[in-house]
């Protein structure tokens, strides 16, 4: 028996604990429900985050949500309220300041370290239990109170109802902003509304998976879904399924142990993404639809368009034949 083997066993033993699992499950039912609610919200909001290319903003909002929660902890206020105030405020500021992606990103980059710094300041002033401090950043060891669960359900109803109302215009504005604007959609209001929705979702996620790992819930499932399909409806369904898998699966695995939920959630989430990426790679190799190797958006003055279209034009084929040819574009 080597020492390493013993260490390995004890490590495994503390990561996967299933003693008295049934009892624990009934005791910690709240956490599982919270995970399910969060998975639904995360999967839905995540697809819009991906469409709007807001991954960085999500991270920034999470840091300010952390600052808000830390401030609440310090002054003895409700932590959930604190993180909610922090993240909605951050989301609103970002919504008003940086509607363009490029400006927005630098603005988030400015705001994020400030939020994190504030949070660390508040935490170092706080003299309560240190596990409280840690859980804000990296997620908690399973314990969701009924009150917490209720507030999460209320918040997710708000998020879901809002998303349902703005669903089509928000999708339009997110995927095709120029035409959506020409159609008369209120781009600015839609952006602000979505930022508020995002702020609420981030605050909810921070409760469970921690400020540093929010992206695993709000980005990874949607990104995995987009690897597998380009149908909007299927993207949403898959994203929710993946988020549920990560959240509920992660919580079920974490119940018995004394490790926080977040590593389980992030690992499942990443594994799903990895599989989806492999599936995409395999599909593209034996693809029935064409691939292009050059991004066409940035090519000025017809040069790019001419190159992309040349294969088809040169072959003398019309556009209507385009769908049938497997990978006619130049190989990478």
């Amino acid at each position: 028996m080597s020492l390493a083997a013993i260490d390995w066993n004890s490590l495994f033993g503390s990561v996967f604990v299933f003693d008295n699992y049934g009892e624990l499950l009934s005791l910690l039912r709240n956490s599982v429900w919270a995970g399910a609610v969060l998975g639904l919200v995360g999967g839905l909001v995540g697809t819009f985050v991906m469409m709007r290319d807001l991954a960085f903003s999500v991270h920034g909002i999470a840091e300010l949500s952390f600052a808000g929660a830390a401030a609440a902890l310090l002054i003895g206020a409700d932590v959930v309220t604190g993180s909610l105030v922090g993240s909605v405020l951050a989301a609103l500021i970002m919504g008003f300041m940086g509607l363009r992606a490029r400006e927005g990103n630098s603005f988030v980059g400015v705001l994020m370290p400030f939020g994190l710094g504030l949070g660390i300041l508040f935490l170092s002033l706080y003299e309560g239990r240190s596990s409280n401090k840690f859980s804000l950043l990296t997620g908690q060891i399973v314990s969701v109170s009924s009150l917490q669960l209720t507030s999460m359900i209320v918040l997710s109803v708000v998020v879901l109802a809002t998303l349902l109302v703005v669903w089509r215009p928000l999708t339009f504005a997110s995927t095709d902003p120029l035409v959506a604007q020409a159609k008369g959609l209120p781009m600015r209001s839609l952006a602000i509304v979505f930022m508020v929705v995002l702020g609420i979702s981030v605050a909810m996620s921070v409760q469970i998976v921690g400020a540093l790992l929010v992206l695993a819930l709000l980005i990874t499932p949607a990104a995995a879904a987009m690897n597998l399909t380009s149908s909007p409806a299927r993207t949403v369904v898959l994203s929710v399924v993946f988020a549920e898998l990560a959240m509920v699966g992660g919580i079920l695995l974490a119940l018995g142990g004394n490790v926080p939920i977040s590593p389980y959630v992030t690992t499942i989430s990443f594994a799903v993404w990895l599989v989806s990426r492999c599936v995409r790679a395999v599909r593209e190799r034996s693809s029935s639809y064409r691939r292009t190797t050059t991004p066409r958006s940035t090519t000025p003055l017809g040069a790019g368009g001419a190159v992309q279209n040349r294969t088809r034009t040169a072959a003398g084929s019309t556009l209507s034949e385009a769908g049938s040819g497997p990978s006619r574009s130049p190989s990478p």
Binding site: T47, M50, M51, D53, L99, R100, R102, L164, V165, W167, R168, P169, T171, F172, T175, D176, P177, L178, V179, A180, Q181, A182, K183, G184, L185, M187, R188, A223, A225, M226, N227, T229, S230, S231, P232, T235, Y289, R290, R291, T292, P295, R296, S297, T299, P300, L301, G302, A303, G304, G305, A306, Q308, N309, R312, T313, L319, S320, A322, G323, S324
Partner: protein
Amino acid sequence: MNAPEPAPEVTTRSGADDAVVRLRDARLAFGDRTLWSGLDLDVAPGEYLAVLGSNGTGKTSFLRVLLGLLPLTSGTVRVNGTRPRAAAARVGYVPQQRGFPARTPLRARDLVAQGVDGHHWGIRLHPRRVHRTVDELLERVGATDYADAPVGVLSGGEQQRLRVAQALAADPTLVLCDEALLSLDLHHQHVVSELVHEQRERSGCAVVFVTHDVNPIIEHVDRILYLANGSFRIGTPDQVLRSDVFSELYGTRIEVLRSNGRILVAGRPDSSHHTDSPEELIP
């Protein structure tokens, strides 16, 4: 005063009452720079107006005024007899081809579907009805074969076909094209240009086509609005695309040559191409 000759009321095809676009004494200025002023223009149903001019003359701004995204500095603009903003539902817009990020979760048919009901609130309650409408629109522009392909993998020409279908989804009285042929090869310029023309013939909508190069559309154009140096000319291609008109507009000797049906301009001070970035239209 840059009053066009002849007066626009005379040149419109039908009575002025049903004009799709009506501008009266319209002036657009940024700060103390006037792009154009004293612009009176009626665009009749079914009319094809090309808006030409070099960079910075307010071509795209003209389009943005018609879309209601930019207010006139003075004067009035009416689209379908109402404010441009209120008319937006019946206006089709074909933007410059720009491509989509590779992972955009839209198929060709979804892009067109957004033209059908993307501006409505709530979620789609009648997916089958929308599906049928989209199928018809795809058929009309000959895009049926790649209906289910992701937009990110389509060529520029294919995307512009979808854009035309998307614009037609509104059953428009007015189709606005913003450099819709830019970055397409000659073959696809022709294909898309024909498509716009066909749809005009079929539905009787008016077309306002902003472009830096009139040649791909010249055979369809009824009238031209030429913007230059803060002034403008309105008239048929033969009235506007002339050496004396251009020389007067630019205040220098300019030759407009016709060669094999194509229009060539020699000596224009600024003939660089128009490539605005997507950010320009977003506030």
